[in-house]
């Protein structure tokens, strides 16, 4: 099978799985997850074959795999849509396929397949425990099991579509499908009000970004007449876009388009100020958090902006904005993460922060570094989220055992000592945490983060460099805080004592992802690392060839290397040091209200934006315009028609027509009949008289007419 055909077929199994599960296998849990995991496996297989072929193809950047078809006719041209795999696409496809497959397998165990049905379980609420035949409380299977797999299959379809497309139209289509699925999945437990609100919040916030992105796409289309990357990135097109000025902020057309597209990324990848949805999105099941908020959806935002790099790099103002937002988000989110107590919230803010790193890297022009960090981050963040899910499952087991349902199984201060109870989870989580912190040499995160810092430093963006370094320190700090509170020390609650390891369907993906978290970084070791003369970084050579002009490899900088070493190890050490003796929130000095409450941003948004919108919708639009004006007009028409009708009825119909035409004809006929009747009196003399008179009259008339005239 040719590579092009294979690429077209990759998104197909998940969407087929979606329809099959929804239409046919909904009632059968085993069949549903088999269909879903099978589909993910098929897509993974296709992706791996394509990846292998891709890395074996020289000059893939100049001649990517791909084909396109005519889609929308526009006068005498066609808008073409199609698929494309160039180096960037190949590496992104690689991690997307792997993480999706791991998450699908993990979901089988996470949703407690094989467990009995719950005692009071209700579709729309998280499973709450069942009683087995011995009277013990055991975890219960998720009531909406098949629906979960249908939704994540649809989600996988959206992500594959986005990664494989060769034009902005199908990219946007995949983008929006994922937006829909994030709504469906965050609000998966729809009976919980907090989940419903979080789903709406996620959708609305990303929608704000999507509107601007659509504006950007429209502007791009009207300026260039095409949406496919091949046509847009032609040098003359880029040059034309860069030289046309727009009246907004003095940006060139390229800059404005880039800025608009970037706002889409701000929404989708949860950058400041549109980051507010991501922490609330932790309401969804943990595989969803892993999928959406680590591996795929938020990566899509960064992927898109990396893809558009040739366009956005044309205008320095846009690049500055991008760099600023990325850097600010990185430090902003890191400071909040330090004060969170929910195990998933820490990871959520960590995701926001790391995405800020990638975007900042892109803003300073570090194309390859941003892509590298995207790939490695996907692996270890997915690992961390799945690991946290495993921890939560263990804690829930303890909650079921003790029967005290007021204990929050996600609060880190209820955990502790879990390294003994859940060893596989502990070691894999540790590897992931170290990768996130940038533990030197052994973990993937080190190589990618170091490259970002090196790039920032050597290109002279010192503010960015310093801020990112501080953020890296905080990253390591809160990661170690998390690991210490969760796994090290002694259990702080009875529930933690009764936790135990999760089944293989959950721990096997953790192990696989941990392997990637270690090894994935070694493909990107810089050529002149530590002054040694190594082979050129494969990743740099491969991904860098996507651009028209291969970017230069960053020269090795001892300052940058030293800084990243310092912040990583320092942060880890301090985190362990401070938190090994902290047993309760009261002892945690970093529980500053400002940080804990996320700088009160949600409250500010509510006051500034949400409440006025509601007021506007409720009062202005609903009461004044809809009910008052439009309904008023309609009621007026109704009343007017009614009035006209009754006037017509009273004055014309009843008075005139009934009386005159209706009753009138009857009366006239009766009157005529009544008055003509006596003519027939039965008296012959009268008959004779009448006939004589008439005869005389007729004779006279005839005589007059015939003789005289």
């Amino acid at each position: 099978m040719t590579t092009e055909t294979l690429i077209w077929l990759i998104p197909l199994p998940p969407v087929l799985a979606f329809f099959l599960i929804i239409l046919f296998t909904n009632r059968n849990k085993a069949l549903s997850h088999t269909v879903a995991v099978g589909a993910a496996f098929l897509s993974w297989l296709g992706a791996m074959i394509v990846f292998v072929r891709a890395i074996g193809t020289p000059d893939l950047g100049k001649t990517p795999f791909g084909s396109s078809v005519n889609w929308i006719p526009t006068a005498d041209t066609w808008l073409k849509v199609g698929v494309q795999i160039d180096p960037l696409g190949a590496v992104v496809l690689f991690f997307v396929a792997w993480t999706i497959l791991m998450i699908f397998i993990y979901s089988v165990g996470y949703n407690n397949f094989g467990q009995p049905k719950g005692d009071h379980d209700h579709p729309g609420l998280p499973p709450h425990g069942a009683t087995d035949e011995h009277g013990h409380a055991v975890p219960s299977v998720e009531p909406m099991y098949s629906r979960f797999f249908a939704f994540i299959s649809l989600f996988a379809f959206g992500m594959f579509t986005l990664v494989l497309s060769d034009n902005l139209l199908t990219l946007f289509a995949g983008w929006e499908i994922m937006g829909l699925c994030s709504y469906l999945l965050i609000g998966f437990w729809y009976a919980k009000e907090s989940a419903r609100n979080a789903a709406v919040k996620a959708f609305m916030t990303t929608r704000v970004g999507d509107v601007f992105m659509l504006l950007g796409i429209a502007f791009l289309y009207s300026a260039t007449g095409s949406l496919s990357y091949h046509d847009i990135f032609q040098p003359q097109v880029l040059h034309a876009l860069a030289s046309v000025p727009t009246p907004i902020f003095g940006l060139s057309a390229a800059g404005l388009i880039g800025l608009l597209l970037f706002i889409g990324t701000v929404g989708k990848s949860a950058q400041f100020p549109l980051h507010v949805w991501l922490p609330d999105a932790m309401e969804g099941p943990t595989p969803v958090s892993a999928m959406i908020h680590a591996a795929t959806m938020v990566s899509a935002g960064v992927y898109m902006i990396i893809r558009m790099f040739p366009l956005i790099s044309l205008d320095p103002k846009t690049m500055t904005v991008i760099a600023f937002i990325g850097t600010f988000t990185a430090i902003f989110a890191a400071t909040i993460a330090v004060a969170q107590n929910d195990i998933k919230r820490v990871l959520a803010y960590s995701t926001i922060s790391q995405l800020g790193f990638m975007i900042a890297a892109l803003g300073v022009g570090a194309y390859v570094a941003a892509a590298f960090h995207l790939v490695t981050h996907a692996f270890f963040k997915a690992l961390l989220f799945l690991g946290s899910g495993s921890v939560i499952h263990g804690m829930e087991h303890g909650v079921l055992y003790t029967g005290d349902h007021r204990v929050d199984p996600q609060n880190m201060f209820n955990m502790g000592g879990l390294r003994r109870k859940m060893p596989i989870t502990f070691w894999t989580f540790l590897i992931g945490g170290f990768a996130l912190s940038g533990f030197p040499l052994l973990t993937a995160g080190f190589w990618s983060k170091d490259e970002i810092l090196a790039d920032a430093f050597s290109n002279g963006h010192l503010i960015v460099f310093i801020t990112l370094a501080v953020a890296a320190f905080l990253t390591a700090f809160y990661t170690m805080r998390q690991i210490t509170l969760t796994f090290l020390g002694e259990p702080r609650a009875r529930e933690a004592e009764y936790a135990h390891e999760t089944p293989w369907t959950m721990t096997a993906p953790l192990v696989l992802l941990a392997g990637f978290a270690i090894c994935a970084g070694w493909v990107g070791i810089p050529q002149d690392f530590l002054g040694l003369h190594l082979n050129p970084s494969w990743f740099h050579e491969f991904v860098g060839s996507t651009l028209a002009v291969m970017p230069e490899a960053t020269p090795f900088s001892w300052v940058a290397f030293g800084t990243s070493l310092l912040v990583a190890l320092g942060g880890l050490f301090f985190g362990w040091l401070v938190y090994r003796n902290v047993a309760a929130p009261e002892q945690d000095k970093l529980q500053i209200p400002l940080l804990k409450n996320k700088y009160y941003l949600d409250e500010i948004y509510n006051f500034l934006l949400i409440k006025p919108s509601y007021w506007f919708a409720k009062t202005v639009v609903y009461q004044w315009m809809d009910k008052g004006l439009i309904d008023g007009i309609l009621h007026f028409f109704g009343k007017a028609a009614n009035a006209i009708g009754s006037v017509v009825r009273k004055y014309i119909d009843l008075w005139f027509i009934n009386r005159t035409v209706g009753d009138g004809t009857a009366h006239v006929t009766q009157w005529v009949g009544r008055n003509l009747r006596p003519i027939q009196s039965g008296r012959i003399q009268q008959y004779m008289l009448v006939s004589l008179i008439v005869l005389l009259a007729i004779v006279g008339l005839l005589y007059y007419l015939l003789v005289i005239v």
């Binding site: 006596p678 027939q680 009196s681 039965g682 008296r683 012959i684 003399q685 004779m688 008289l689």
Partner: protein, 102 residues
């Protein structure tokens, strides 16, 4: 010497008187009397036209004879009817014989 017009005027007058009698008399027999007068007037007309026209044309007299026959039969039947009605309804006043009405 006697102009035709005298005969014709006479018959017209007799006819009119007979007409008056027919229209005005209450008794049914009297009405039949009036009819007789009218028939006679017609006869006078016929005969005078025979006399004052071509005498060899006997049509005038023949018609008058036919009128005689008709008048006789009509009177016979008419009076038979009146007698029969009188026996039934005990009246000969024409106005009271008004059953064929609305």
């Amino acid at each position: 010497m006697i102009p035709l017009s005298w005969f014709l005027i006479l018959s017209a007058a007799l006819f009119s008187i007979g007409l008056f009698g027919v229209l005005s008399r209450r008794n049914a027999v009297a009405i039949l009397l009036g009819i007789e007068l009218m028939l006679n007037a017609a006869n006078i007309n016929l005969v005078s036209f025979w006399r004052y026209g071509d005498i060899s044309l006997m049509a005038g007299q023949v018609f008058a004879i036919i009128v005689f026959a008709v008048a006789a039969s009509e009177v016979a039947v008419g009076l038979a009817l009146v007698i029969s009605v009188y026996r039934r309804r005990n009246t000969v006043i024409a106005d009271e014989l008004d059953l064929l009405k609305w």
